[in-house]
């Protein structure tokens, strides 16, 4: 692989662009493939097959050829509402799992760079912040404030935008009240039931890092369930 190609790959990863690396293992030549863009002419005759594996996000050798394809997929956007203690541990776990993280908290004392170095922390109310992040169906919402005036607007936004994972912290009682409020706001049971509440897999722990682990485990589980 040429250094220039390596540099280009890293740039695309930083910009969260989806692409694939195509390598001819017979002669060592490699190039970047991007959907609907021109490909290096030496790889043109494989374009249909490359497109097929790219669409299915399958890595491997194209059958009966020496062409290897490796897909780079845009990371899942994880949006945490509440720059609380648990969020600090969540950020650490999520980083190693390559999730793209944003934290929303309208409370100035919580949403600081000092508490979350290097993380996209948005010190605004959820609706404004979420519009700024531009989430899609590949997004997950983790609501941690258990304060209705902060969590509820975020949960409503996530339901309306079909987030693939929505979880909310709080006891069973807190969650029952939350569901009732969403119902009163006109949301259907089928959508409200998609919210994981109380959030996380039951591991037993109550400490902040333990709760963070239970939440992140549930998120990873959901990612694989949907493959």
């Amino acid at each position: 692989m040429k250094i220039d190609l390596l540099t280009e790959i890293i740039k695309k990863k930083e910009k969260k662009i989806e692409f694939a690396i195509i390598t001819n293992i017979e002669n060592g030549e490699s190039c970047i493939f991007e959907k609907n863009k021109n490909i290096n002419k030496n790889f043109e005759k494989y374009l249909d097959k490359i497109n097929l594996l790219y669409e299915k996000k399958i890595n491997g050798l194209i059958q009966d050829t020496n062409i290897f394809i490796e897909n780079y997929i845009r990371p899942i956007k994880v949006i945490i509402v509440g720059a609380v203690h648990i969020a600090q541990y969540l950020v650490d776990f999520a980083k190693n799992l390559n999730f793209e993280i944003s934290i929303i908290d309208p409370r100035g004392y919580f949403a600081t760079e000092q508490r979350f170095p290097g993380i996209n922390v948005i010190n605004k109310w959820p609706n404004e912040a979420l519009n700024e992040i531009k989430p899609d169906k590949n997004s997950a919402l983790i609501a941690l404030t258990h304060d209705p005036k902060i969590d509820d607007p975020a949960l409503q936004f996530a339901i309306k935008n079909s987030f693939f994972y929505i979880g909310a912290l709080g006891s069973k009682k807190t969650h029952a009240n939350r569901c009732q409020r969403l119902k009163d706001a006109g949301f259907k049971d089928i959508d409200i039931n998609k919210i994981y509440g109380p959030i996380g897999i039951k591991l037993g722990g109550r400490a902040a890092p333990e709760i963070a682990l239970s939440i992140i485990s549930q998120l990873v589980l959901e990612v694989y369930k949907r493959q």
Binding site: K13, G28, N98, F164, E222, Q227
Partner: protein
């Protein structure tokens, strides 16, 4: 739904190159049986013998480092290697898991 569980080895390779090290990239291109790391898993090796990332569960990494150092020494650009249980060298570097893997080694030039 898929996430790219990315181990940042390419970024690390770039850092090594900027420190004037020669770097070989090893990528799992085929697997058979119960190989521990999926296709696309990567490992980087430099001319000092440092390595990062993985292509198996620790079963063949030592051998891969040796192969890559050989590639740098002979100044070859790339090479394909396979590890099979049935190899004569199985005792030393075979995959204890019973799987088989093919790797593509390439120098970053």
């Amino acid at each position: 739904m898929k996430n790219s569980f990315d181990e940042k080895v390419l970024e690390e390779a770039k850092d090594w190159i900027s420190l004037d090290r020669k770097v070989v990239l090893a990528t799992v291109i085929q697997t058979w049986g119960s190989s521990p790391r999926p296709i696309g898993s990567r490992m980087i090796i430099n001319d000092k013998g440092d390595f990062s990332g993985s292509v198996s569960g620790g079963c063949v990494e030592t051998a891969v480092v040796r192969e890559c150092l050989g590639l740098i020494k002979e100044n070859k650009k790339f090479k394909k290697i396979e590890f099979r249980v049935s190899d004569e060298s199985a005792w030393e570097i075979g995959l204890a898991c019973g799987g088989e893997i093919a790797l593509f080694l390439e120098q970053i030039t």
